[in-house]
Symmetry: D2
Amino acid sequence: MQQTLEQLIEACYSLTGEGNCAEYIPLLAEVNPKQLAIAIITHDHQVYQAGDYQALFTLQSISKIFALALAVMDQGEAKVFDRVGMEPTGDPFNSIYKMEIFSYEKPLNPMINAGAMVVTSMIKGRTAQEKVERLLALLREMTGNPKIDMVEEVYQSEMEHANRNRALAYYLKELGLIEDVEATLEAYIRQCAIQVTCEDMARMGLCLARYGVTDRGTPLIPTAISKMLKTFMVTCGMYNSSGEFAIKVGIPAKSGVSGGILAAVPNRMGIGVFGPALDRKGNSVAGVKLLEELSKRFDLSIF
Amino acid sequence: MQQTLEQLIEACYSLTGEGNCAEYIPLLAEVNPKQLAIAIITHDHQVYQAGDYQALFTLQSISKIFALALAVMDQGEAKVFDRVGMEPTGDPFNSIYKMEIFSYEKPLNPMINAGAMVVTSMIKGRTAQEKVERLLALLREMTGNPKIDMVEEVYQSEMEHANRNRALAYYLKELGLIEDVEATLEAYIRQCAIQVTCEDMARMGLCLARYGVTDRGTPLIPTAISKMLKTFMVTCGMYNSSGEFAIKVGIPAKSGVSGGILAAVPNRMGIGVFGPALDRKGNSVAGVKLLEELSKRFDLSIF
Amino acid sequence: MQQTLEQLIEACYSLTGEGNCAEYIPLLAEVNPKQLAIAIITHDHQVYQAGDYQALFTLQSISKIFALALAVMDQGEAKVFDRVGMEPTGDPFNSIYKMEIFSYEKPLNPMINAGAMVVTSMIKGRTAQEKVERLLALLREMTGNPKIDMVEEVYQSEMEHANRNRALAYYLKELGLIEDVEATLEAYIRQCAIQVTCEDMARMGLCLARYGVTDRGTPLIPTAISKMLKTFMVTCGMYNSSGEFAIKVGIPAKSGVSGGILAAVPNRMGIGVFGPALDRKGNSVAGVKLLEELSKRFDLSIF
Amino acid sequence: MQQTLEQLIEACYSLTGEGNCAEYIPLLAEVNPKQLAIAIITHDHQVYQAGDYQALFTLQSISKIFALALAVMDQGEAKVFDRVGMEPTGDPFNSIYKMEIFSYEKPLNPMINAGAMVVTSMIKGRTAQEKVERLLALLREMTGNPKIDMVEEVYQSEMEHANRNRALAYYLKELGLIEDVEATLEAYIRQCAIQVTCEDMARMGLCLARYGVTDRGTPLIPTAISKMLKTFMVTCGMYNSSGEFAIKVGIPAKSGVSGGILAAVPNRMGIGVFGPALDRKGNSVAGVKLLEELSKRFDLSIF
């Protein structure tokens, strides 16, 4: 496995030249696009890492998965899905047009920004910081890494360019789906700024692969909820390339515009990938290819 | 299992009163909505049936799965997906607006009507009949049932109400995606009119569950293609309820407006369900509930 | 004329029962819907009034006409139309979807809310109050009525229900079309809360009918700009009923959700109508009919 | 006037290099784009012509105006507008998406292709040829030119590239708005292929400017209908530049992809312009500029 990972990193590395770092967040735009890394932790506790695996990066949209976990644990499935749908959209993550033209009363799913903000607003906590602290606590417990934290300057940088998300949030407020726009936005953008390594992500993925039980045996997320998360990862986890990724890779995965991809192969392994050069839909160019090759090599598709 | 199926049929039967038969096709509108049936064939060749399992019904959209299988076997994956995309849409099956407003040059996926027509046009065969004969041959081989055939009068009935599909087809012709509109439409509507039982569908589902190998051991569809089919079933198989179905049931499945649902649980079983009373999105009301309960009872989710 | 107006008011009065007051602004919802009034001032200074002509009401969207006049006088046509388009949309006034799906970089016209906010932001004035004071000054000069003023409690009421407009405003800020969202929103909603009578509106309409010269002979708006305003009134003045109104009435007119309609018949007369019961598109039900009959009776169509 | 026209032609001629002939119809694509012509006939029967005024070209979308006149004279306003709306759309002429997403049951106006086909289908006549013959008879009478006829080869050329229109037509058939798709399409495309000169168009425009009475004093179109036609010309006559054209030129006008523009200044004159180099929305680049300058020079705006 270790050797294969190193070969795949080498084979996919040239693709880092075919994408660009996310440009709408200044701090992300400054990242070196020529990076590629992977970490895998298997069901039997083996850890494999290759490439620039010591790199730190922020979760960005990957945090939507765990915010959803927390909101559903806090409020119950019924209450959450009363305010957000379950359908993939085929549209970009910051899209809102479908809600207007079809008079939908809730965002289509929890993986697009509008839906994720509704979800975050439902996490228990009196303030944005409290919500984020609870999310951090979950992730620290999940990874066994107490140092996982939020990067204040990434949060600040994103907050300064948050007008499209603020527009979505006021639209949601008008519909009665959220109450406090600024608090929701703060919590949402803070959760995006949580910093991890590939190994952290692999451990999170493994917890999902083990149906919510950490690699140290602690049950953190109920089985049914962990299955739900993996389902959303398949149908809407890779932005509006989710369908293609499901065909070509076949593994539940969630990407972020930082270039991270978290993947979970049920009963087998958790995977963390990092490659900040993105394709036009917002997924890591080299990271997607790496997972495609890995899936073929080890027959990881769930289908 | 047999007893469970009978209990589930009984428990879900009342839901047949909460939907309606498809109304836009006169022959389908005449079907008795108060029917519900299921057939399951397991990996070890056990056959279980319950409810109105002797009912005959037409595949309708379920045929899209096998038309895609044949087209990809005939033309190769690259050529087919050059003309049709892989993304779920969240839109109704007869939708076209996204192609116009986003200037897409191909339908978003092979499970919406526009995409399915492109796929059917790529099945080898000089005439519509030849294409359909080849599809019938595939399904007869897959089920071991040589009597599977097309119902001419259902075809005629649908052909008389095919103007929306004809509109889509001319739109596709304008884009250079199909050539002969009437021949494509004929093949597409004929394949929809192929008649089966729940047991036939269960056997088809089992073949997909066994990665393309029939229950008699004959390899019919290459492994990679059978995985691709199951992936499309998850992301777009249940019309614009696919996301919700994936969350609640978690099994690759494809429904048709006749009320049929074909499902495939990898390595475990094929399932055929029939319940002609549909919800507003075109799925069998009672059939979906039946599968949801079944999935919970036997832990069938792939996630 | 006087007798005709009284007859028409009587004939159209029953239509006040077929609409409803705007409901999304609490103070407007409390207005008595059973009112109908008209005032006409002709080119030769005759004043005719009928119905509940002493009623006071707020301009609402009618203010968009004069905000546009002021912005163009302040900044020049080129600069204003660099940030807002000239095309009618066929969509509701609070719509935004077209900007997203077609990646438009500016609102389609200055009569939909998004466009009007961009326009208002371009009126000179360091604060929202200064902008509104300048608009009030223009309207007082135009009507010779120094008592025209803003109703603070209507402003407050609308400001408490402004989240959809705030969503639009942040969308515009993201595009670089406005800078200060709250200041723009304040100016925009304050201008909507300017209170007038039918006679005031008739005098405003007469000024437009006289190509920007008041009935006392003072040139207030350049000829070219006054023509431009009347053109927008024809193509987009009556929300997404503008086309039908142009066909049936044929007079440049602008309506507001308070039930007001301001109309200008070039070289002939200004008209103010008030009827707070609205149709589904936001126009006064009885007011539109009144203008239709009036136009036929006196051959007022410009076409 | 004659001298002014010659100056304007010269001044605008260079703009012929900034557009392209319509490319989707082969015969139109072969036209020399470097042409510009104008003809004006005034209320007092003066004829002025300048530029390439002897050029022959086809009416294309300009025919929609007279097809509408005929349909309304044949069926009455109520029946026609039961099947087609009155609202401008801001969308391209071959657009259909709005009907789908908003579930509209009729095309938004008679100037977009979908609406024009519905209108043409309502012209009396047992066959497509009969409908077109009646339209030709109207135009010959209007212009006093018995030689106006349809160009068979333009019709054939367009018919070979009519799949997008055919798609629209089947969509309309599904909605019950037209019956015979091919007959409607034939009549619609034949009417587009009617060939005229600028002088012919000027005479048609004059008839509209004179409220339906020809320059020889024959009443051809009822006054109310002629006003309605001019209104549609203002709100939707110049494709999705109608709003901008109304602001900048202010004259009722209808353009076609052949490069023709027919304009009618109420009580004053009819105008025919020809300049086949089109802008991206389908209007003659130089022709629009020519009309803008002409309108300013002679104060022709109706607003």
